[in-house]
């Protein structure tokens, strides 16, 4: 099963994970993921037919609340952590030409 993680797959995962990997990192990732998946495949031994997947340990339900502002305007405090800001907004690289 280890060959499932080939160059093409690593490329695809890099896109999903938004990571740019060096050649060395790609080789390492192939090896590490192959090994880990080989181990995780152990789960296949278990018959889980008819078992409902359990996402929350106690099966609690959605929690609803009124959509009310509770924490006031924290714009200045929040922007202090921004890598770049302009006119009270987060600044990002140009995304459209025109």
């Amino acid at each position: 099963m280890e060959n499932r993680i080939n160059d093409e797959m690593i490329e695809h995962i890099g896109i999903l994970a938004k990571l740019e990997l060096s050649a060395k990192e790609r080789e390492q990732a192939k090896e590490d993921m192959g090994k880990m998946l080989g181990y995780i495949d152990k789960m296949e031994e278990l018959d889980t037919s008819g078992i409902e997947p359990l996402s929350h340990a106690f099966g609690i339900r959605n929690v609803f609340r009124e959509d009310e502002e509770a924490n006031g305007n924290m714009r200045e405090d929040v922007l202090k952590n921004a890598p770049e800001e302009k006119d009270g907004m987060f600044l990002v690289p140009r995304t459209f030409e025109g």
Partner: protein, 510 residues
């Protein structure tokens, strides 16, 4: 340094009677930090000035009768993935090297309300991903019992700080054993509460369905007192549970008469170090000697816990860590071409190898074509594991076992083989998958003098039974002892967290 040997509860009581001042306790802890940090490196950030200011304020409120809780005036440490308003919170990552939160986590807010004094932020594995505290971007922490060994992880800085007497109590977080395993390795007590007991508001998310904040302390009583303070129903965390019966300190009674305790054979077999096994069996005998009914049983599915855990935790991590994109906070790469390249470069340069490994694994198990075979399969295995525990708790009040298969490994040995490191979490991850409370308590030392941790797990919401048994065991065991503490420096000049700190209000980093 006698003051530093007191428990948190003893200290607070002595401040209340006026025997000492809150400021003296902070000064003593800071002095100990000054002496020990060159070697142990438990902290990423120490906020000496803030702690002293806060101690004066707490003292005034105690003198005025406004504050009287059991943690009033107690100097504590907070793991660096728990937000503290105005104080650097890095998650031990370059990604958040300059992040100063605009708000405090609910658990921190409650601690401060109770009069605890925050000394600083403790080292950890990057984004809590690791079992040794070696994946920290700011250098490793050393185990106070043997500085050639790791403190465990991911809350290694918190556990080591308690053991090295650089604080009286600490907050950690536990996604797959990150409170219990370092507590075991450092000879201290750690509690992972039932999922939903402590608000996750302000805890930087790793595996949201598994993460819980909990206490690490010198003994069971200190931990129970801290847990009582940080437990709350919080609308800011949609998974918070409105619990009753949370006066955990009321469970500090020396009585296990008739308590039914199960010892899973699955936890005592292959892969378990001989000396750890002997210590755990001895602890079981001690409890039996106090009237508990201890028996071995087959829990089942233990070998499937790690595969399910790493699938689920990595999937959730890949989703949770998408927020780190160089836009709103944290690291942004210096060079890029366009928005998408900025995202990719910032993430690639900001995250360390273990974090990338888990984000990639998580992205894969959630990807189209593999989702059913991995992620969904893991959720079904989780359901089976939960069922196995439900059946066990129909027969037993508590499940007893080791916290980890070995004692603390030597520094530098674990990261070379990630899979091997993951296998070390075998006894702890199930509690997270099933949402159960767990406690680790020192139950002996091996022939090299390294602490061994005993784990007790309770059914959901049964912390009190667990605390009662842990307290009774601790009484029977007697004093565990302290490591011989060193001071000075190892000459390596480690632990400098200087990434882009300029101009921000933050603590002194050492």
């Amino acid at each position: 340094m006698e003051l530093l040997e007191w428990t948190a509860l003893e200290l607070s009581a002595k401040i209340k009677t006026g025997e000492i001042k809150a400021r003296d306790a902070v000064l003593a802890a800071l002095e100990r930090i000054e002496a020990g940090e060159g070697i142990y490196h438990c902290y990423i950030t120490v906020d000496a000035e803030g702690a002293l200011r806060r101690a004066e304020e707490v003292q005034r409120r105690m003198d005025g009768g406004e504050l009287s809780g059991p943690l009033s005036g107690v100097p504590v440490a907070v793991k660096d993935n728990i937000c503290t308003e105005g104080l650097l919170t890095t998650c031990a990552s370059k990604m958040l090297g300059n992040f100063v939160p605009a708000y405090s986590a609910e658990a921190v807010r409650r601690l401060e309300e109770a009069g605890a004094v925050i000394l600083g932020k403790t080292n950890m594995d990057e984004f809590a991903m690791g079992s040794t505290t070696e994946t920290s971007a700011y250098g490793e922490t050393r185990n106070p019992w043997d500085i050639g060994r790791v403190p465990g992880g991911s809350s290694g800085g918190s556990a080591a700080a308690v053991a090295a007497e650089e604080c009286f109590l600490a907050l950690g977080s536990d996604t797959g054993g990150s409170i219990r395993q370092p507590a075991a390795f450092c000879g201290v007590v750690g509690i992972k509460p039932t999922y939903g007991t402590v608000s996750r508001y302000g805890l930087v998310a790793y595996g949201s369905s598994l993460d819980q904040i909990g206490p690490i302390g010198r003994n069971v009583s200190d931990c129970a007192a801290m847990l009582e303070v940080i437990t709350s129903y919080d609308k800011k965390d949609s998974t918070s549970i409105n619990r009753e019966d949370t006066d955990f300190t009321a469970a500090l009674t020396d009585d296990v008469e008739g308590m039914r305790i199960g010892l899973p054979k699955d936890y005592m077999g292959d892969g378990l170090d001989r000396e750890v096994r002997e210590a755990v069996l001895e602890a079981a005998n001690v409890l039996a000697g106090r009237g508990a009914l201890v028996e071995e049983f087959d829990l089942g599915l233990a070998e499937y816990a790690i595969p399910a855990y790493y699938t689920i935790a990595s999937a959730e991590a890949s989703s949770n860590l998408e927020r780190f994109d160089g836009v709103k906070y944290g690291y942004r790469a210096a060079e890029y071409e366009g928005l998408h390249s900025m995202y990719k470069r910032s993430r690639s340069e900001g995250f360390g190898p273990e974090v990338k490994r888990r984000i990639m694994l998580g992205s894969f198990v959630l990807s189209s074509g593999y989702y059913d075979a991995y992620y969904l399969k893991a959720l079904k295995v989780k359901a089976l594991i939960k069922k196995a525990f439900d059946e066990a708790f129909a027969k037993y009040d508590l499940i007893l076992g080791p916290a980890a298969p070995t004692t603390a490994p030597v520094l530098g040995e674990s990261l070379a083989d990630p899979l091997q490191m993951y296998l070390g979490d075998i006894y702890t991850v199930s509690a997270n998958l099933a949402g159960l409370p767990g406690i680790s308590i020192p139950c002996g030392k091996n022939s090299e003098g390294l602490p061994i941790g005993l784990q007790m797990m309770g059914d959901c919401f049964q912390e009190k039974k667990m605390i009662r048994a842990a307290y009774a065991y601790e009484k029977a065991r007697g004093t565990f002892g302290r490591p011989t503490l060193a001071s000075g420096t190892d000459g390596a000049g480690r632990g400098v967290c200087a990434e882009g700190e300029g101009g921000k209000k933050s603590g002194k980093t050492i």
